[in-house]
């Protein structure tokens, strides 16, 4: 049973792991970043999606290759090759960062359902209880169908993008001609787009789901195609979110801080249905994230630490697993409801920790993928290694930028 559930987590039988990963990558935080970017700077940030896609493909291809060749997850490999200490701190960091992500998902759910006039005091507790029950008590088939359906709803963004009636020649210019601005907010948002697309937990998720599928080396080409398609899909969705906000909110100077505000602001400009579509897709992305992130986190941590795991186990059989999973959902949803809870602070901390973790995850991944004992003939070719080190270095420098820009205002405020 436990394995079935683990597979549910990666619901792979119909879609490939790469495409699924792509969908979950555009979670509440991602959608917020794209909406804000579109509303604030119009089409001019669209070009950043191209280097982002390249970096995403380079990183995820390596991670997927490791999954196929070793049949093990990334947390497994890190534990087996770098020992307890590195693994423990990495898992601790992942736990805190992912807790922040879970809170962001519940916040996204609350905000998007408020558009439909539902109080967060009803939506969040019911949502959390439903997720917990669905995963621990529900039948595998039901959940798989729910999740597959949820993946389809992402197309809502593409529809909203078209309905917002963008000027396509401007869109093409913004995408293909890189522009630069000295505006610190512009720089921050362009970095944030990369930061929200390439996250540490995504790499763990992708490799585990590929390993879980039990793909053989001979099937590696299919896996690569799947991953690359997924990377493009992620950024196509991101593209349309930016377009939708850029076409409607930007010319009228409407500034937003949250994705749900975008949905509300869209209604008078692009029509009620575009707004509904946008709001529904946001609720859906948040819910999908809230289902996957806690479950995935509990799995990696327990796998790395060698603790008993599985959602069908009781608190006695798998205490660490059940406590981590339950804590993330319960605490993650309670924080949303407490008035005056330091939500912003928590999100900041989560993005800083993610930024701190990412270099380690990427460097570990790169040295693992080049370890002949593990990868055999599937290590990086020399030329590819130059590209991947360059990409990883660039990502690290940019995420360092995120940390500095996130922390600086907080420090200056003191």
């Amino acid at each position: 049973m436990s394995k079935r559930w683990k597979r549910m987590l990666f619901f792979l039988s119909v879609m490939g792991p790469g495409i699924i990963t792509a969908n979950i990558d555009n979670d509440a935080a991602g959608i917020t970043t794209y909406s804000v970017a579109g509303a604030r700077f119009g089409y001019s940030l669209l070009w950043t999606l191209i280097p982002t896609t390249v970096a995403l493909v380079v990183v995820q291809e390596m991670v997927a290759r490791m999954g196929v060749v070793t049949g093990k997850g990334l947390s497994d490999l890190i534990r087996e090759n770098y020992g307890v200490r590195a693994t423990f701190y990495m898992m601790l960091g992942l736990f805190v960062a992912n807790f922040g992500t879970t809170v962001a998902e519940f916040a996204g759910l609350a905000a998007s359902m408020e558009i439909f006039g539902m109080s967060k005091y009803i939506v969040v507790p019911t949502g959390a209880a439903a997720i917990w029950l669905l995963v621990t008590k529900g039948s595998y088939v039901t959940v798989e169908r729910v999740l597959l359906f949820a993946c389809l709803l992402y197309f809502g963004y593409i529809v909203s993008g078209f309905m917002s009636g963008p000027d396509w020649s401007e869109v093409a210019k913004g995408t293909l001609v890189p522009s630069m601005s000295k505006d610190p907010e512009y720089l921050l948002l362009s970095i944030a787009i990369i930061g929200t697309t390439i996250t540490p937990w995504m790499q763990f998720y992708l490799q585990s789901s590929i390993a879980e599928k039990g793909l053989r080396k001979s099937q590696y080409k299919i896996a690569r195609l799947d991953v690359i398609t997924g990377c493009f899909l992620t950024d196509i969705i991101a593209f349309f979110i930016i377009v939708a906000c850029a076409a409607t909110l930007f010319p009228r100077g409407i500034r937003i801080n949250e994705a749900s505000e975008a949905a509300v602001a869209l209604a008078p400009l692009a029509g009620k249905y575009a707004a509904l579509m946008f709001g529904l897709a946001l609720a859906n992305a948040s819910l999908l994230g809230a289902i996957i992130v806690p479950l995935a986190t509990a799995y990696y941590i327990c796998e790395a630490m060698g603790w008993e795991r599985g959602v069908n186990k009781s608190f006695n059989q798998a205490p660490e697993f059940m406590w981590i999973y339950t804590f993330m959902i319960v605490a993650g949803s309670v924080i949303i409801l407490v008035p005056g809870a330091p939500l912003v602070m928590l999100m900041l901390m989560s993005s800083v920790i993610n930024g701190l973790l990412l270099p380690f995850v990427l460097v570990y991944a790169l040295s693992l993928v080049n370890n002949q004992k593990i990868m055999g003939e599937y290590t990086n070719p020399r030329a590819y290694n130059i590209i991947s080190w360059a990409t990883v270095t660039a990502i690290i420098v940019l995420t360092a930028g995120i940390i500095v820009t996130t922390l600086l205002p907080a420090l200056q405020a003191r």
Partner: protein
């Protein structure tokens, strides 16, 4: 030099090792373990000095405890060691942090630390630490963790598993003879084995299966989901695969073969003993969700004229080969099913009576093309343990046992089949 008391590998890794003059020879990098009686023992230390590695044999140890480790050897005559080339079993490289099967608890755990104890003049490996204490010790936080928990009045639990109960997954570890644990693993229930298999990577799972004897492997594989069974078999040599399929019950084997690509299937059928292959081929003709697809061709059938005494003698010869026996079927010369007799009724009858006189003639049976739900309904309605399948001349061609249909009768959540290796 013997080891007094006990110590953990993590307490000596990275520690300096002193030469007779008291100078630092290098730091301990790894530990070579070899097979010993009754437990694996420490054979040598691998030390690193700048970028080179050397092997310091256990015999040359002067002091060996968690504070001071010294050797009678000096650097001049230390043997260089190639970390990549040697086939030794190394504690850090090959055991620490790896997954291992705890045969006692029937679960997969990770090795956090290794415990050594003095035994005569050797240091032997007695247990592995799979608990929180081991993790904290590796991180150098054991004392702190202990005092923190003391504050909450909780004791930091030790979770040690005796080496006797461990079963390595990778064959590399099996260079240490593990007769005890191997036996323990084979005594596990096949369902538990399948559960273990589902927690390790496909490569490890395959190696694990190949290390089992074919009979145990066949039972464990039968517990997995059908597509997972096929994946495992595809990765095996045809010979090994055929050996395992032979040991499976014919209905399970037929289901599995049905799932394989046709060229592999026919190759395997050629390798399988003729008698078993015939049984399987017969079952392959039926759709998997009909009575014919569910049935097995292994059953006990005797003529009505046989006496109970004769039948009991024959039964002792025939039954061991068969997966499960609940009834004796009575068939005439044309193999037509004329009666059925429960084992209880047979055992309780006078030995001189004939089977024909005590058999039940009101027989419930199904045809091979009957739908699986119909089979489930009949079994459930008449409280049967097994249901005979007959062809158009009422000739007995197979039986369906209740365990083959149980999954249909249970609610979905209670089904037990596992996916993946």
């Amino acid at each position: 030099m013997p080891l007094f008391g006990e110590l953990f590998i993590s307490e000596i890794l990275g520690k300096p090792i002193l030469d007779p003059a008291g100078d630092e020879l290098g730091t301990i990098k790894d530990v070579v373990l070899v097979k010993g009686e009754p437990l694996p023992k420490l054979d040598a230390l691998i030390i690193s000095r700048r970028k080179d590695s050397f092997r310091i044999p256990w015999e040359s140890m002067n002091l060996f405890n968690k504070r001071i480790i010294s050797t009678t050897q000096d650097l001049k005559n230390a043997a260089p060691y190639d970390m990549d080339g040697e086939e030794d079993l190394l504690a850090l490289r090959d055991i620490l942090d790896k997954q291992i099967v705890d045969a006692n608890g029937a679960k997969v755990v990770r090795v956090n630390d290794i415990k050594l104890e003095g035994y005569r003049t050797d240091a032997v490996l007695t247990a592995v630490d799979v608990g929180m204490r081991g993790i904290l010790r590796r991180m150098g936080l054991e004392r702190k963790g202990e005092s923190l928990l003391k504050f909450f009045r909780v004791k930091l639990p030790s979770h040690l598993i005796s080496w006797n109960y461990m079963q390595p997954i990778q064959p590399k570890l099996s260079t240490i003879g593990l007769t005890v644990s191997r036996q323990m693993v084979e005594e596990l229930h096949p369902a538990d084995l399948a559960d273990l298999l589902s927690q390790v990577s496909p490569v490890e799972g395959l190696e694990f299966i190949q290390n089992l004897d074919p009979e145990t492997a066949a039972e464990a594989i039968s517990e997995l989901e059908i597509d997972t069974q096929a994946t495992i078999i595809k990765d095996m040599s045809a010979e090994a695969a055929a050996g395992i399929i032979e040991e499976m019950s014919p209905d399970a084997a037929a289901d599995l073969i049905n799932e394989l690509p046709s060229d592999l299937a026919s190759e395997l059928l050629k390798q399988i003993e003729d008698e078993d292959a015939e049984d399987i081929q017969e079952l392959l003709g039926h759709e998997s969700d009909t009575a014919g697809g569910l049935m097995t061709t292994e059953y006990i059938s005797y003529p009505p004229g046989m006496t109970v005494a004769e039948a009991m003698l024959r039964f002792k010869k025939d039954a061991p080969e068969i997966e499960s026996v609940y009834y004796v079927y009575i068939i005439d010369e044309e193999e037509r099913l004329v009666g059925v007799l429960s084992l209880k009724d047979m055992l309780l009858s006078e030995s001189a009576t004939t089977l024909g006189s005590i058999m039940e003639t009101n027989i419930k049976s199904v045809r091979p093309e009957a739908d699986e739900m119909e089979v489930a309904a009949v079994i459930s309605k008449y409280d049967l343990f097994a249901l005979p399948v007959v062809d158009c001349d009422t000739c007995l061609i197979g039986i369906i046992t209740v365990d083959d249909i149980l999954d249909l009768l249970l609610p979905k959540q209670a089904r037990k089949k596992r996916r993946s290796v």
